[in-house]
Structures are given as structure tokens and as C-alpha cells.
């Protein structure tokens, strides 16, 4: 996918298993190149200036002489040859079907999968490092890392003692169910364990893609400002748990935790809100308890 125009280029999703001797930086891999002038000359880009409009505000010409009839939106071909085929199918049906298979695969093995989402820099990796260290010997935790580039986070997780697979999405802005399926096959997590999927840092796109997780956790931080639930309602609406991180910095930033909780409730009345500091460990036991309550027993 091209970062300039959003077009789909050659496949650039890369799956990297980080190891102690892994000094190779995947950023050095070849990217994709193409001529953006081609896009501007695309004959399919059509004109919206003719005043003709559809219900969705979209206007275009029908070069085959077809016309619209009444308000029904039915397109009638010049010789009446076009026919309508009813589909009534979800656009993301393919992703959702793979997500469902992931969910079954995880459930069969007694594995808790958590989709962890946040903006960049909220502290996802720091939280996971601490979680892996603190729960070592209690619950096996492995991590699937999603980033556009580099295996930097995977190395940090590995150093904290967890198995990890890094997925580099190239210019992609989210993980999808197929990427998770590939990550799970490579990771091969044990029964009775937790897999945390650290999604690409982004409060917009990951909200739409079911991966097959059992729970969605949104990590926010006091340094981002308190307005994020209202600004990114689609992300927060999907959350089962919202973690408010970096509470150790509350004395230094203009952030009202009570106002934050009230705004969050407007967007998602059912999500649980926990405040913690992944750096100092303050409040972090509640996060561990939440994980423990959801971790399946190891299947016999």
C-alpha cells in the first residue's frame, strides 16, 4: 500500500520472528515504487461537476448510455440488458470469516487473545514489558506486534521474556484477521496462555477490523489529552476495557480524570476504565486481575 495515495502496491506485509541475534532491520527491505502521474490520468476518475447526483451525493456519467430511473437507483441499460443481482453481503465478510476461524482456533486451545489498541506512544509496549515480567511464572504471555516498520518493539518484548512475532504492515494502518492467523501459526502459543495483539498505533483504522480476539483493550495516556474518547468514538465504542496510562504524570499535565471518565461513558457506557502507570506500577494489579479472570484454564 502506498503511503502517498493509499493505493495498493506489491505485497509489503512482513512477518518477522525476533530472536536474540536478530539484528536485521526489516526497514531495509525493498519497498514498492510506482508513478503517481498514472493515478491522475486514471480514466476512471470521473467528473462530479455536472449537477447530477445520487442519494449519497455521488455523481457520474454512464458511458454506455444507461440512465437512472426514478428514485429507486435502478440502473437500466440502453437495451435493457443489465440486471440487478442482490447480494446483501458485508464488505468485510472475508475478514470477519477469518476472524471467526481465529476465534475458534484460540478457544479450542484455551488461549485468551486481547487486541490492544492505542495511539502511537501511549505506552502499549511498556505496559506489555512490565506485564510479561510481573506475570512471569504465573501466566504464559506471548505477543504479536503490529508496526508499520522495524522490529524494535519485538526486541523489547523478547527481552522482557515473552515469545513474540513482529508483523510489519508496510504502509498499512491496521492489522487484519489474515495477518493474525499467520502470526498465530508462527507463534504457536500454548494452551492456557494469553496472546496480546499489539495493534498498529492508530485510533482510527484498527477499530473496524475484527481479528478474532476475545476482548478489545484501548490504552490511553494522560499526556494525549482528555478529549480522545469524544474525538475517536468509533475506537472507544468497541472497547471492553480502557486503560488510562501514565497516571504518574498527572501532576504535570492538564488532565481531568473525572471528566475523562464522564466523556468515555458517553461514548461507551459498558467499557470498564482502569487507571494505571506502566512505569511505576501504580494501579497495575487491577489490569493483571482483569487478565487472570479471563484466562482460560489449560485444557486437559
Amino acid at each position: 500500500m502506498c503511503a502517498t495515495c493509499g493505493c495498493s502496491g506489491s505485497a509489503v506485509v512482513r512477518l518477522v520472528v525476533a530472536g536474540p541475534a536478530d539484528d536485521q532491520d526489516p526497514a531495509g527491505q525493498p519497498g514498492h515504487g510506482h508513478d503517481h502521474a498514472n493515478h491522475q490520468g486514471n480514466p476512471n476518475h470521473h467528473d462530479h461537476a455536472d449537477g447530477h447526483s445520487h442519494a449519497g451525493g455521488h455523481s457520474h456519467d454512464h458511458p454506455n448510455g444507461a440512465t437512472h430511473q426514478g428514485d429507486s437507483g435502478q440502473l437500466i441499460g440502453p437495451a435493457g440488458t443489465d440486471r440487478t443481482v442482490q447480494l446483501q453481503q458485508k464488505v468485510l465478510a472475508k475478514n470477519d470469516a477469518i476472524a471467526e476461524r481465529n476465534r475458534e482456533w484460540l478457544a479450542d486451545r484455551g488461549i485468551l487473545a486481547v487486541n490492544l489498541m492505542s495511539s502511537p506512544g501511549a505506552g502499549k509496549t511498556t505496559l506489555l514489558e512490565r506485564t510479561a515480567r510481573d506475570l512471569a511464572g504465573q501466566i504464559a504471555i506471548s505477543v504479536i506486534e503490529g508496526d508499520q516498520e522495524t522490529a524494535l518493539d519485538a526486541r523489547r518484548i523478547l527481552a522482557a521474556g515473552s515469545a513474540v512475532v513482529q508483523i510489519n504492515t508496510g504502509a498499512g494502518c491496521h492489522l487484519d484477521a489474515e495477518m493474525l492467523a499467520a502470526g498465530l501459526r508462527t507463534l504457536d502459543p500454548p494452551g492456557g496462555s494469553i496472546v496480546v495483539i499489539e495493534n498498529v498505533g492508530n485510533l482510527v483504522c484498527p477499530a473496524l477490523f475484527d481479528l478474532g480476539e476475545a476482548a478489545r483493550v484501548v490504552l490511553a495516556s494522560v499526556t494525549e489529552g482528555a478529549d480522545k474518547p469524544l474525538k475517536y468514538p468509533h475506537m472507544f465504542r468497541q472497547a471492553d476495557l480502557v486503560l488510562l496510562n501514565k497516571t504518574d504524570l498527572l501532576p504535570y499535565v492538564d488532565f481531568d480524570p473525572r471528566g475523562y471518565a464522564a466523556d468515555l461513558r458517553k461514548v461507551t457506557p459498558d467499557a470498564l476504565l482502569l487507571q494505571l502507570s506502566a512505569t511505576t506500577g501504580d494501579g497495575i494489579q487491577a489490569w493483571y486481575d482483569w487478565l487472570r479472570r479471563r484466562t482460560p484454564l489449560r485444557p486437559e
Partner: protein
């Protein structure tokens, strides 16, 4: 830019269902609470249909409003933005409709 992945999903779905048909029009329903921007899907649609049996097809998008119900007063209402609050002031709502992203039908030549 998840609308690119949406547009790709749209092409995959249609070509999967109708692999041999020449598609002249795709009708898409984007719910008001779906989190998808119609203009971005339009932008991506022409790019991702190139070289497929949807190339040159028109894209008609309808955007049905959302419906919510209030768990406090029990009324049903249409939220006036992405943050659904009941006119009674309650935030305890359930989204009934408006999150769908659906290919309703296609026109085949």
C-alpha cells in the same frame, strides 16, 4: 486510510460471488456509525477495480441513519452525530442500526 482495505474487501466480495460477470454498478450501504468515510471509499474504488471485472463500474453509496435505544427511558432515537446520546440526557444507549457496511446489490451487464 482503512477505506482502501474496505474497497479491496468490496472487490473481493463481488468477484468472489460473481467471478465471470461484468459489473457496471455497485450499490453500497455505509451506516452512519460504521466509521467509514464514503468519499474515501469512492476515491479508492476506481483504483482497486482497475483490471478486475468491476473496472469502470459506477459506485452508488447510500448512508442510512443510525438508530439507538435508550436503556434509561426506553425511547428509540436517531443520534445526530457519532456520539449517541439520548435526548433525555442518558448515555446508556444501545446501537440498533447504523454500524453496517453492506454491499446491497450489483448491476451486471
Amino acid at each position: 486510510m482503512h477505506e482502501l482495505a474496505i474497497a479491496e474487501g468490496l472487490v473481493d466480495t463481488v468477484t468472489g460471488r460473481l467471478p465471470d460477470a461484468r459489473i457496471t454498478c455497485v450499490r453500497l450501504e455505509i451506516g452512519a456509525l460504521s466509521g467509514v468515510v464514503a468519499d474515501s471509499v469512492r476515491f479508492c474504488f476506481d483504483l482497486v477495480t482497475e483490471g478486475t471485472n468491476l473496472e469502470g463500474a459506477s459506485l452508488e453509496i447510500s448512508q442510512p441513519p443510525a438508530r439507538c435505544s435508550c436503556r434509561v427511558c426506553g425511547s428509540e432515537f436517531e443520534p445526530d452525530g457519532p456520539i449517541a446520546l439520548c435526548p433525555c440526557g442518558s448515555a446508556e444507549i444501545t446501537v440498533l442500526a447504523g454500524q453496517d457496511l453492506l454491499i446491497t446489490s450489483v448491476q451486471v451487464a
